[in-house]
Amino acid sequence: MMRTGMILGLTLFATTLDAQQTIGERLTGRVPSEIAALVQELGGAAASRGLPVDPLIQKAIEGNAKAIPADRVAIAIRGVVAQLDSAAAALRDAGVASPVDTLEIAAGGFAITAGLRGRDIGELARTGRPTSDVIVGLRVAGTLAAMGVPREETVRLVGSSLRAQQAPGELLTLPGRVQSEMARGATPAQAAAGLARAAAAQARHGPPPDRGPPPDHGRPPRPLAPPLP
């Protein structure tokens, strides 16, 4: 038991050290030294919790490029870490296998930035679709929220589409389809609701006869999470 603990500790230490080294290399000459030090510290800790570090690095570089004062950049970076932690917790609570895919956490973090909540992330992750599809679903959900689609309608539309086994390429068309409906005079909520109804019908009755099996046909589905208490 003690040996296992030492091995895990060593692995954790190596992961943290590698993350800090990578962060240091990527930030050298790009941001002030105090911001680089902060990202190294927060990024190392984030990596040890299984979080992606790229969003932190991006936010630091973005802040410097936009000539934002260092104290405000630091606040924004801490905000990114909080969003990633929320997304990871939501995915873990949804029963996603641990460790959770860092791309999935980053996609969840983006969705939270756009206005979704942790329970929305969990609901989309519980659709039982493969990780790669859920990642695209979370990105699309964030984009829809950024377009002004209300949170509930966003989750209903993307959730129905995922349950209808729509392929990632099809999920990616959702923002454009919502935009088309909005151009015809629908509100974002109305546009999303109409598409969600169509996706729900597809989930119940299967895809139209002229459409073949989804491109991910044959891939193992993600195990469904146990019901919430």
């Binding site: 190596a14 570089i61 802040g63 924004a76 959770v100 996609a107 990105r139 964030g142």
Partner: protein, 181 residues
């Protein structure tokens, strides 16, 4: 192509300084028309084998740098095997990229570029060029699938969100445009 002179408030809309809701009712149709003209984002999948090469090269560099961690990695791998996981299917790297055209109408601008997560927020990395009318600036670049955030940089100093794209809070009190491919 004939040059169309927009109302100054529509130009502010195109610059991201106003939203459609801020325009008076009589200008909304003109504003919507201007935004429609801007929504010229071409998307066409093209295969770029070089992407695969770059990914492999990056992995190779990483492997060389990590040689001194080999014992710890070996132990970690053994632990993973002993614990008998993972159950999550691996996420595959797509070898395709998507060609995207960025368009901004920026009256009076002398220089326009686009900076975002895809070019490390470097305002000098992706300049736009004048196209058609003197006020229209365009750039076409290939991007990997994923979620990208960006903004236009006008005259090297003014960060302007794309009026034709959804946007999120950038954490600094401004907005970043979002492109999901």
């Amino acid at each position: 192509m004939t040059q169309h002179e927009f109302d100054p408030r529509v130009k502010q809309l195109l610059d991201g300084e106003l939203t459609l809701a801020d325009l008076p009712a009589e200008l909304r149709a003109e504003g919507e028309e201007a935004l429609r003209l801007l929504a010229a984002v071409d998307r066409a999948s093209v295969s770029v084998p070089a992407v695969t090469w770059r990914v492999m090269a990056a992995l190779e560099r990483r492997r060389r740098r990590l040689w001194w961690l080999a014992p710890a990695v070996a132990i970690a791998a053994a632990v993973v095997l002993l614990l008998g996981r993972p159950s999550t299917p691996p996420t595959t790297l797509s070898a395709t990229v998507v060609t995207v055209r960025f368009v901004l109408v920026a009256p009076g601008a002398h220089q326009v570029s686009v900076a975002g997560t895809f070019n490390r927020w470097d305002p000098s990395a992706t300049p736009l060029v004048r196209s058609g009318t003197a006020d229209t600036w365009v750039a076409t670049i290939a991007l990997p699938p994923g979620e990208h955030q960006y903004a236009f940089v006008v005259d090297g100093a003014r960060w302007v969100p794309d009026p034709a794209a959804p946007a999120v809070d950038d954490g600094f009190g401004r907005r970043n445009s979002v492109l999901t491919l």
